[in-house]
Subunit: 502 residues, 4 copies
């Protein structure tokens, strides 16, 4: 097994930072046969969450009360390589959960595909998980000591077996899954968004810190404009971005610490577990900056708007005289538009993205390596030649991709290139589900702004401040929410929401 | 074998129109071992042309004078699935040609991969072709009647065997490839951009109508600012978009009817064959509208600028009161920026593209089909809600993708959606290398603007006029060039550059 | 999940009966680095056991005392598709176990590949299993009720988790694996041959009935003739057939109910659990008839010799006048030689096997189906024409393969074809690890000898009697062993070695 | 391109000698729709010829007079990986040809798959070839000089293009394929068995030396005993071994130099071209020894019978006192039975073949290499222990497989092992279609019998003499045929049937 550090190392060779999975659940209203094709809704829901993980995916469905077994289809690769008409047809049922997993070279095996399904003394149980159990070694020891063998190092097997364990003081009236979930939450408060399924219901669980996102939607009859009409089903998802494409309306987020139950009659809060220290939530701020799809909504605000606002704050903090504002497409475009509006400097595209470049596949020759030009992009020379540019990107992790882009723009005739990063420098590792390179690899731990500008060939370089990011993230929150809202900025500030040695 | 009509039918089921291949050649200056890694340059060059064809690709290299055989690597699929370090290493040589082929379900077999290589009485010959021989049946008959068997229906085998044929009046001093090429050009004047290789030289050929693009670049020593320093090699390519990424500078286009020779000592025009009717060239206008990458340069102007100008012309012709101008990303973005600047209506992004949606892979259920929402896009609801939108796209072919996008934007709260298309309606088939759906499938042959607006759910819909497109395409051309420049608009106007029954 | 009946149905569509896996273990003597390449020995050992299962295989190795984790490589398919130089190199260690699994369409998934590995509170544990737990539902309930989730329906996961469970009365001095194994044996006495590995030792376990085979070998230094020289390692295997090919000598069988420990210092019996009813063992008699490789040794006798003896007994019971004795190659050849020697009728080959026929892959046309000729065989016409044949095969299960062979021989000119089967008719299902078709599918439950002869086109047909088989199997056993030896003949006689509702 | 020598080198690394393809054709009688499923018959016919080549295969069918195109399916690998129900269904037609190709690492590409199909001025032409054009460089030059490009180095493209060439003196009444074939035969008399198809007929051609086999069969109505009833179709095949399995009866061989035409009305000899020197035919004697399937019939005699007779002759020449005669299964078994009958020494099996050993897949460790035991075989120890063995094999090529087998038998207790080879030593290369290792690699060019016995660990070793082989091959030939029959023994004697520098 690799250490976290080693795993990170591998993960980030190519991609900077990696997402940490998406979860999705769907249940149809009423009796079987239901109107909604649950497997297909989940499949499309996962396609909309594909940016959260491209390594493997799975869907598990249940035919409800009569189910002896779940229908399971999991596999390595992208959603549309795993599922086809035939496999969707075999995923019969009126409820189900799905999962898409991030890419890592370590333990990238079929056995680790989620959702995780086990047979228990109380029926079949299925778990999909996004996040990372902060005290996983302690929880692991607890489970092992109860005489259970664990076949993987995955959090989701660990969570599942922990839920299977008979409670120390027994259960009087048969299994009480919500009580078991609460017990698990007391053992491990951070971090997870879980979607669990037993044969006729789905539980959605968000950790008491609200660190990972999870939200609820409802499916109305087709072409129904009247919101009061009865729903045809409900969905639960890491992000809301796929809702419109499956005909669902966004309802709300699952609250930090909330256990919500989805059954054929509707949605109901079972209970809410408080954060141990009663502080405000610690929602991952990097979901806004980097991970989430820009049309998703968190805390009542669209991610794209927050990113635009980051650009506005950045313009307030670090504007400079220039002819045009542009972006590294597509990651920096929202912020660039914000920067342009705030600064009054016109926006223009300067880079054309080659959609067909895969991961680096051939070792470049010495000449081409020295050349150091980004083959992923082309320069729109007529927009660039003779211009002073402000180039916006969302973040810098290792700092090895921006240099070749600057070189390309200069080759195309740019007279000045000023880099502006719409988020603060990354300094610290994450222990809550995000793979960040090791401290030594984070460029911000090695070079200050001046040095980094020189290193990358920029005329100047500036980051958004932590304060600026916080302003951007909170600008739209209504007062009541603002009080109760908090964000985890650990990777930027080192202020972790909890002790690390739980 | 399928008829053209049938082939088109298949090709366009999913994609509207399909590109027609990219060609690329590279030769190093001086003696072996040369400074330039030719195979790698070609591979990167093909990656930059990948948008012109994703079905198959190939690279063929030669070790020059000493070569008894060429090194060949071809395969189905995308460049980075076909080539790896090992195959690039085996493609030794100081010159070579590459090809990337468009996707079609008909005859999508390895035997059709280009470049096409044959052994002849005069050494090995290699041909890469972009275009379509307009009188291919006549040429085919000629070749067959000379006692040659043809193993495929591909133009490139046909061209190759036509070049192998002994000339009727013999050759006094051994084989004269340029004379054979000229003979071929007299038999078939349209349409092709060819890159041919014999053991120590490359010929670039553009048909006398200049219908398909082809341009030349030179590779200077690294970090060389002085343009007069000796070149390290030369490249020839369908488009210039990849030049910067391989360290090459754009030199010029190959002229219509020109045969250019690339050898280890430089580039030289061998001869130029006039268009039979001496009219101006007929460069495919749809390269500007749709096919080319936006950072490529044709006729001295950047494609992106032409597309922006199309947007400006469109605004002049068909503006309407609205709150924002936006685009279907990424095809309509350049034109949308042009439209915005011309009209003064602010540009804003309204759609977020799901990069991970592949070709349709599961048959949607009745409910989802009825729902009809584009799963390839998400709506940026805060930018859309309560707004009157002008939505720009580059073209409409079958008209079946824009409807769901409009539905999505309305679901996200748009109050009005006005569709503006930055090119004229498509009415006629192309016989020069582009797969356009059959006449019955072209939506512009079935519905007028009002009907199409209704059909797609738009509040209004307008196309750019042919005249507007011509203005946009010619605006930047310098006077001398303007006179000599002409464009093929056959698919829009039915005016073909030549009789079809050659 | 499929019922046993259904599973059988699927399994036997094509193949009659299916084997039930092979297990293999190897440990090197002395300290690391050891002389023996353990992974390679296991890999070759599995190749020799490939006839016992072709669905999937796996090898797990341990670096001994210092091992924190095991090295694991498992996969679907045949051994030489799963393992290569690289994977063997990564399977470092001085001890290891391997498994090869039979083919079944049900639950043929990677998650079911063995050996099964789990992390326990007492280190890593690895289990490879051949057999079938007769009271698996009861054992399963026991495990589930202890609060363990089971992710598969496989016996090997069940066994592993059962061994992980903390014993009811605790363990004073840390984990006592042999005690846990004994406890498991008391819960489930039938049927299994197990090879277990913890970090520095291997346990071999045979069920108290001795139903499945398991034997031990030792590896001597190369070219060593002196048996008293120290061993370089030990192996444990379902069959002895691969021993010579890895340089190992056969030592003995693991005794029924024995737990044997293989460590770096040698082999040692830990304890022996008696059969609950103290009757003689019940070794599967069909291992002799059908499953085992003919060069394996059970109970001191070579399988080939037993098969020849079956042919001799068959000749005593059911000889008939004929010109030649022959066999369906290669399953009936040993018996045919025995029959020939006993009867004095000369042996000659009459069928030539097409080694390249895979499983049926195209649906034969009506004409070819009616033709009904075995495409797997060709007839040696000159040996057949005008001859009266006795044709020997080892067994008849569904009775659908012998007919076409008889047709082929008649087409080739045979005047009479008398079928003789070197084992008794199959009447009953097996619950100890062998997939036998359902009762209705067993041809012997539908047709008597006369009917079956007619059905298959034979001139006559006879089976070996149960008594004759028993004589053949016991002929070579030395007196002492004969007394203590017993065989399970349940599939022939319905006499199961134990109650079925444990 | 590799030289013949190099190609041989590669081919024989693993396998000793390699076959040279199988050809097959089928035509249905009468009008379409015909009773016979032609594609299926060809597919089964190829399965029966699979031993002649496992690298690639193809089937091409024609719908007869109305055919504009042929239906083609080719691919790499074994027949049952290439064809399935769907591809067979698409191979519509009332006639067709098939090909299976031998395995070689050189040019093992899809482009070389046969049959080769070209469009000609006179319709589509299809060629399947077994053999090797002895003067291929001269023929190649002729074709190239006529202005044809050749895309491969394969003989079958060369033959096809040679047939396409317009005859020097024209054709008065349209194309005359038989005349073109005769012309080709005059240019290249050796060696080929060809099956050609144009749209409504098949031509079978055997070279004037009769070097490669080719025979004809007829398909009678099902269950038809009356030979005079009208045929339903005809087949032509490299060997007769598959005839019974497709319901065909053997008719006769195609005669050396004969062109036979198969049409919907029957079989007819078009003409017969004599061997230039009018000597008797030169049929490859190694077809009897090694290549052909033992149930095939050549020159009126079953291959198995010839092999048995080789064993008899060997016993006459080189018997020795021993307890048993045995064979390396399955290659030596026919000869071993012959040896046993002639010598009176009983036959017994001593080796058990592991059917699941693929090509060597892992590099054996030093210990296992030193061990040198054949993992492809197990020893039947009770048959071997204490015995003096005579071990028969059909041939020795490189001499590297027999040593480990002898070692295995000694480890199993054999007291003496005398090797007898049922064919003469191989000394010379073949230029007529068989890949034989280079002279240096042929063990018979390096070691005499005594040395080879020592080298392999045998107590003695002897080959069959060339004279003995000739006696065996001719024993059954009826007088008239004997006179006219001759065999090519070039690889044994160096006496080639023709000058090599044609």
């Amino acid at each position: 097994m690799m250490s976290k550090e080693e795993t990170n190392k591998n993960n980030n060779m190519l991609t900077g930072m990696t997402h940490e999975c998406g979860v999705f659940g769907c249940i149809a209203a009423g009796d079987w046969p239901t109107h909604i094709d649950v497997a297909q809704v989940i499949c499309l829901g996962l396609v909309a969450l594909q940016h959260r993980g491209q390594e493997s995916a799975g869907i598990v469905t249940s035919e409800g009360n009569n189910a002896k077994n779940f229908h399971v289809k999991k596999g390595m690769g992208m959603i549309n390589n795993i599922f086809n008409d035939e496999s969707i047809r075999q995923l019969k049922g009126s409820l189900g959960v799905g999962h898409t997993r991030y890419s890592t070279s370590a333990a990238s095996e079929e056995v680790n595909c989620q959702p995780f399904v086990v047979h228990t003394a109380h029926g079949v149980l299925c778990v999909a998980h996004n996040g990372e159990i902060i005290n996983k070694e302690k929880l692991r020891r607890k489970v092992l000591e109860r005489g259970v063998g664990l076949s993987t190092h995955s959090d989701s097997e660990l969570i599942t077996q922990a839920l299977c364990l008979n409670p120390p003081d027994g259960e009087r009236n048969g299994v009480d899954w919500p009580a078991r979930i609460r017990h698990l939450m007391s053992l491990s408060p951070l971090s997870y968004s879980l979607v669990l399924m037993e044969k006729d219901r789905i539980y959605g669980v968000r950790d008491p810190y609200g660190n990972r996102p999870l939200c609820i939607g409802k499916i109305l009859p087709l072409n129904c404009k009247d919101e009061n009409v009865g729903e045809e089903g409900w969905v639960i998802s890491s992000e809301s971005c796929g809702f419109l494409s499956i005909g669902a309306r966004y309802v709300r987020e699952v609250y930090p610490g909330e256990i919500v139950e989805l059954s054929r009659t509707g949605i109901k809060t079972i209970s809410t577990v408080e954060r141990p220290d009663n502080k405000p939530p610690a929602f991952c701020i990097f979901e806004y900056v980097y991970f989430a799809r820009s049309d998703s909504v968190f805390e009542g605000q669209m991610v794209y708007s927050v990113r635009m606002q980051c650009g506005r704050e950045l313009a307030k903090e670090a504007c400079i005289e220039a002819d045009i504002v542009s972006s590294v497409p597509e990651s920096g475009t929202a912020a660039a538009h914000g920067f342009s509006r705030q600064s009054g400097i016109p926006f223009a595209e300067v880079l054309c993205k080659n959609r067909y470049v895969g991961r680096t596949f051939i070792q470049p020759s010495a000449r081409l390596r020295q050349l150091g030009v980004a083959k992923k992009f082309g320069a729109l020379s007529e927009n660039v030649a003779g211009k002073r540019l402000i180039l916006i990107d969302d973040s810098i992790v290792r700092g090895n991709t921006i240099g070749p882009i600057i070189k390309l723009l200069r080759d195309a005739g740019a007279t000045e290139v000023h880099v502006r990063i719409a988020s603060p420098p990354l300094h610290y590792p994450c222990y809550m589900g995000i793979n960040i390179p090791t401290r030594e690899e984070l460029i911000a731990n090695k070079l200050d702004n001046v040095q980094l500008a020189k290193h990358t060939g920029a005329d100047s370089l500036a980051y958004l401040s932590v304060e600026g990011l916080k302003i951007a993230v909170r600008r739209q929150l209504v007062p009541r929410e603002k009080d109760g809202v908090g964000h985890c900025t650990a990777c930027l500030t080192g202020e972790y929401p909890t002790e690390l040695d739980w």
